[in-house]
Symmetry: C2
Subunit: 370 residues, 2 copies
């Protein structure tokens, strides 16, 4: 999704893609290769002026080695590690004094049991690395369930992260861009509705959020971006906890254009993708103003309909205002394959939400009846 | 510029490009070839589901032959000829009873002199084919000047078009999309300011236009689109003549996404490029509502600054709200190499216009002082 932004600015992209990656169908230039192989990365880096990312799974040690070899990385490994490793992130948030759930690093079931007792059940056990979209996350409701987590202490990780399961009112995302020049620009804080660990719906801006809390979440995002030296887009995923002093707690970080920012493609003056391109090239950042009172984003995941294109007419006919995005990926159950944005230009959030959900469901299930 | 729209919809583009064409840097798949060579066209057509165009210079006889061979063309040669041949177009507008300047087909200087006498000087002499951006157009103010036009009657054209030089208040453009299914959707009528034959500035919607005239121009565009069977985007370029009954006269037709519609990339719910893709694929058309009270488009043509990218920081820093578009073309004096869109979200057209002009000039001249 960075390609349209790059094309509009006349910037050339070269994509290192997995074989079954959508980028192959959309970027001017691509190389198919394994991002966990150092030599592949180094050869690719030789062909570009700056390297950036659309996921966080490139091994930190490879990034460090590339950086030591003089390759401009945006963000660099020193920043990216906070999105790659949840324990490193928790330690940093604590150091910055930012609000977060009670947490511990645990290396054995005994340590887990002691920590969970201290934190109070239910707790959430997480692998520090490799988890995303709800993977690598285990909710433990009792010592009995904690005992069953023994299988996770298998030597893949030095320690696991255990933290309080926060009783939140909703989930939020505070996105900020930080340029290589140090300039930052925050987007409005949005509400995200997670389904099976995926940000399924986004309401932008978050409709039931105090200005004070939104502002303070944006400030937290700026503190993080500056402290860890982010370049590009940073998403700070938050729990909305109005009963706490700050009103929010930090959940996770993502250091790239993020699912919770897809609404900006149609709903903000500068999309997160254009902003990311600007930031990693050291260009001045664009205005982040929303275009409509509200914009809604609804994902569609792979389901029984494999002919998405065949379902477009029904969705487009019913919702001429909907902005339908398809990633050109093959359909697999549960895979993120597209999303729908709807602008509530008249301020009617509920109507926009209903339209986005229905349009996405028409495509997902191949409905032609509407 | 169709590429971002196609990418967002998950539609694959294959571009037949000239060697020095921007498409080469932006489309997933391209073939470099000569669009005036039938075999090149036929081989290219074999690789795609539907063929469309971003200019009107593919020879009509080649298009006819491709169509006869069963290649889906959108638009087809039967429609495209009205954008390719100004005499054919004038005859059709007359047949449809649509308002246009007084005109004649002339095959010799003697016929030209008689027609100009009849129409009244000044007149405009045009080659029916091959002219664009002010090329192939000659304003004649007197019989003496008409006499000098003898050189144009050189056998390249069976006849030339001579027409009244209209004393217009402004120039307008009425864009409409028509799908292969026959569905049409009109965009707001815009005002265009032409410089040296190029639509240099667009104000959308046209600020000093009666609703009645705008509506009637949209109806004329719909009549044309349906009568000649357009598929894709049609731009009807108009003279605004408030003293006439209709309030406008038809100048020219363009049958593709058009310079006067670039404002829609950022200023309308559905851009002309997405609309064109939808139309040629037979998908339902998108809403054409403007996003802001006004949007301004300002072209930048090639000038002394060849390092456009180097000028981006100054323009972006001064105008974080400006949407800068660069075509990735090499800079040649007078060549269209990019444009700037500015949304007047607060309704202040003059401020948006000033910002768009200044941002474009910073890039064009490589100013870094601001």
């Amino acid at each position: 999704m960075m390609a349209p932004a790059a094309i509009n600015l006349g910037v050339k992209l070269h994509v290192l893609a997995e074989a079954d990656d959508v980028s192959v169908t959309t970027a001017a230039r691509y190389t198919v290769g394994d991002y966990t192989d150092y030599d592949t990365l180094a050869a690719f880096a030789d062909t570009v002026d700056v390297v950036t990312f659309d996921h966080e799974h490139v091994p930190t040690q490879h990034l460090q080695r590339l950086q030591d070899a003089g390759v401009p990385l945006a963000p660099g490994p020193g920043a990216l590690v906070y999105a790659q490793d949840k324990l490193v992130m928790r330690r940093k948030m604590a150091e910055l004094g930012l609000p977060q759930p009670n947490w511990r690093a645990v290396s054995s079931v005994d340590e887990l049991l002691a920590a969970a007792q201290d934190i109070g059940y239910p707790v959430v056990l997480k692998t520090p690395r490799g988890g995303y979209d709800g993977k690598g996350v285990w909710v433990l409701n009792s010592p009995k369930e904690a005992q069953e987590a023994e299988v996770w202490f298998n030597g893949d990780h030095e320690a696991l992260l255990v933290e309080a399961k926060v009783n939140f009112r909703s989930e939020l995302s505070a996105q900020i861009a930080r340029s290589t020049t140090g300039e930052t620009k925050a987007y409005p804080v949005v509400e995200t509705i997670q389904t099976d660990g995926v940000a399924d719906i986004v309401k932008a801006p978050a409709p039931a959020l105090k200005d004070e809390t939104a502002h303070s979440a944006q400030q937290a995002a700026e503190t993080i971006a500056n402290s860890i030296g982010v370049t590009g887009m940073l998403a700070v995923e938050l729990f909305h906890t109005p009963e706490t002093a700050a009103g929010f707690m930090i959940n996770e970080l993502a250091m790239r254009p993020h699912n919770t920012g897809h609404w900006t493609q149609d709903g903000a003056l500068t999309s997160q993708f254009e902003q990311h391109v600007r930031a990693v090239l050291g260009l001045p950042l664009g205005a982040t103003d929303p275009i409509a009172p509200y914009t809604v984003m609804k994902n569609y995941l792979g389901a029984e309909n494999h002919d998405l294109y065949g379902a477009f007419p029904a969705a487009m006919r019913k919702y001429p205002h909907a902005k339908i995005h398809a990633y050109g990926k093959s359909v697999r159950p549960g895979r993120k394959i597209g999303h729908v944005n709807v602008l509530a230009t008249n301020g009617d959030l509920d109507a926009a939400l209903a339209a986005a959900i229905d349009a996405a469901e028409i495509i997902r299930h191949g409905r032609t009846d509407s």
